[in-house]
Symmetry: C2
């Protein structure tokens, strides 16, 4: 997997959380995923398919982190992991995928449109339908942790 696919994604994540939730997110050293357990309690996932490359992206938030982030985004206290949280995570994922695509177009990669899905559940596992290794980038914020998964193959 080429790092050129990872950086636009991380920048989009940092951007969205900064502008929409006033939350500063700091990326920590990445590692290669060794099992399929989602790292968080709610995960937004979206496939990206283009002529030259295809991949799958996921953003997995701990309950603690997403409840704070959603409360900041919506300007009201959100305290349960329900449809509102699914909407927020879907929206974050959608904007991140959009930002990533725009950055990759400048590098000569175009991707089809796609719709993210959101999964809520303790101990859920997400399987990306791509052949490449999956890179995990942990993020820390003052609201708690979340994890970005990127998997691309050319």
């Amino acid at each position: 997997m080429n790092v050129e696919f990872v950086n636009p994604f991380l920048e989009a994540v940092i951007n969205v959380l900064g502008t929409m939730a006033s939350t500063e997110a700091s990326p920590k050293p990445p590692f290669v995923k060794s099992d399929d357990r989602a790292m968080g309690d709610v995960t937004g996932v979206c496939g990206m398919v283009g002529e030259k490359a295809k991949g799958s992206l996921a953003i997995s938030f701990t309950e603690e982190a997403i409840l704070s982030i959603a409360s900041r985004m919506l300007g009201e206290e959100i305290s349960s992991m329900d449809e509102t949280i699914a909407d927020v995570v879907g929206e974050i994922t959608n904007i991140v995928v959009g930002g990533t695509k725009r950055a990759l177009v400048e590098q000569g990669y175009t991707f089809d449109m796609a719709i993210p899905s959101t999964v809520i559940g303790k101990d859920h596992s997400i399987f990306h339908r791509t052949d490449g290794p999956i890179m995990i980038v942990p993020f820390e914020t003052d609201a708690g942790k979340f994890f970005v998964e990127v998997c691309f193959e050319k």
Copy 2:
């Protein structure tokens, strides 16, 4: 949601299970989904985006059903909900989406390529990022139950 989107999907599901797993699947009366709890223990989900319509499809299998179906497809006993099951569900979802697209092209609808994701977990909830109602079609087989979710908007 127009029923023209539902029938090709159901036919593709019946077709795939019949040809790949020698499993006869009988659709039962559909109902509109009232909460977001996945009906099964493993779910394949895939967005479909086109110029004239967009939607999201999911196939959610009970553990009992998918272990039998996977064992039949692979010709060996599969007894745990691991990556092999994720592969099988991803493959079934992929083929079903492909078959549905081909049928819908004949009706004048084209869709971009997409990659399905698979989720394993007891009590997981899947949220489709579309505005329309979600129709559930329960299926019965001699292997157990599974559920098809279709959500489309024009």
